[in-house]
Symmetry: C2
Subunit: 214 residues, 2 copies
């Protein structure tokens, strides 16, 4: 039973950041950490760290701060690292490839279980241990591989169909790189990541010589 009251995206993001920051530490050497220090490493305030940890019911000690490995464990559990996360990647352009690389290295908690592309050349290839299938088989293969998340890096025009097929295949979370508003049943969580938007934001704030990150 994960949580009582619903927790905002922002908090989840920070928790994820705290946890991965902690991965850098050698827990035999650094046993514990103060909210202050973790905050600095993550670019947030100490009060924010304490509040977030309070939100998930994690306590430290007043003299030593937070126990590093305990914190990793607790946040990991909270984020659902216990359960299996199986991702389907659709679209193996450069961005898709970048994601394949990415998961070859790190993040052992999220498993890429299948990749898909429309290009004949790529079908049936195995990249970093992940087999590539034809998009036409999306729904079947997603079901068969028990994917529960999908990553969409296809051209804009194809994104909606891909999303629909993924959902039909049993996926309940999507990361969508296409600048398109996906229509999905509302038990499905969609996160849109539009690179243009991000860059335009950077451009805007880079313009203001007056600063302030936030």
């Amino acid at each position: 039973m994960p949580e009582r009251t619903s927790i905002s995206k922002r908090v989840i993001e920070r928790l994820s950041e705290y946890r991965s920051t902690l991965d850098e530490f050698d827990t035999t050497e650094t046993r514990s950490i103060y909210s202050h220090d973790l905050a600095k490493l993550c670019g947030v305030t100490a009060a924010q760290v304490r509040r977030d940890l309070m939100t998930i019911g994690f306590s430290g000690s007043s003299a030593k701060g937070y126990d590093v490995s305990e914190l990793q464990q607790t946040v990991g559990d909270f984020l659902g690292f216990g359960e299996e996360r199986r991702m389907a990647l659709v679209g193996i352009g450069h961005l898709g490839r970048a994601l394949l690389d990415f998961f070859a290295d790190r993040n052992p908690k999220l498993i890429l279980c299948a990749a898909f592309d429309i290009n004949e050349m790529r079908i049936n290839r195995v990249i970093h241990g992940v087999r590539c299938y034809a998009v036409s088989q999306l729904t079947e293969v997603a079901k068969e591989k028990r994917a529960n998340m999908g990553i969409i890096t296809v051209p804009d025009a194809a994104a909606q169909d891909v999303a629909t097929a993924l959902v039909e295949g049993g996926v309940s979370g999507l990361l969508n790189f296409a600048p398109v508003q996906l229509r999905v049943p509302n038990h499905v969580f969609v996160e849109n990541l539009n690179i243009s938007t991000v860059l335009e934001k950077v451009a805007y704030f880079a313009g203001q010589s007056g600063d302030k990150e936030r």
Copy 2:
């Protein structure tokens, strides 16, 4: 003279989204649009759209809504599309390549003026019209090319040095894909984009069968 009171990242993101959504329209056919409709296309509420446009001082008419091309123009101006934005891309792995592709197609407002890599093989190649230089020349070339933004897609350990070199080269905005907290002078705006964090967020909310995008 762009704005009076400082505007939040969130608003800028939405404005960017409104603008690019409007690009889909043929302005000779669709002259104007209601807050309601634009809202639906962008996945926000109508009140939000009106509030955001009010924030930048843009007015519509009560019967016709907002004039599409005027709105595009105004938002574009506001976001600084008038001025030149010259970006340096550092790291030409798959992700870097994806970004190069990306800018070959769209976004004529942001110019990729140089790319950098440490790998000999890639140096001096020209990809989509962008020349690739050695990272060792980062500062000089950035200056020479008058870059004002940087995109960092290098391995974690190299990110800080790259950031420092870019800033020295005159860059005042960074998009950083490395999961590292960059230290930069505070006239420099940094946006961190950590793919793991994004995916962990999707994983978390995909877990909750109880939904609610936000």
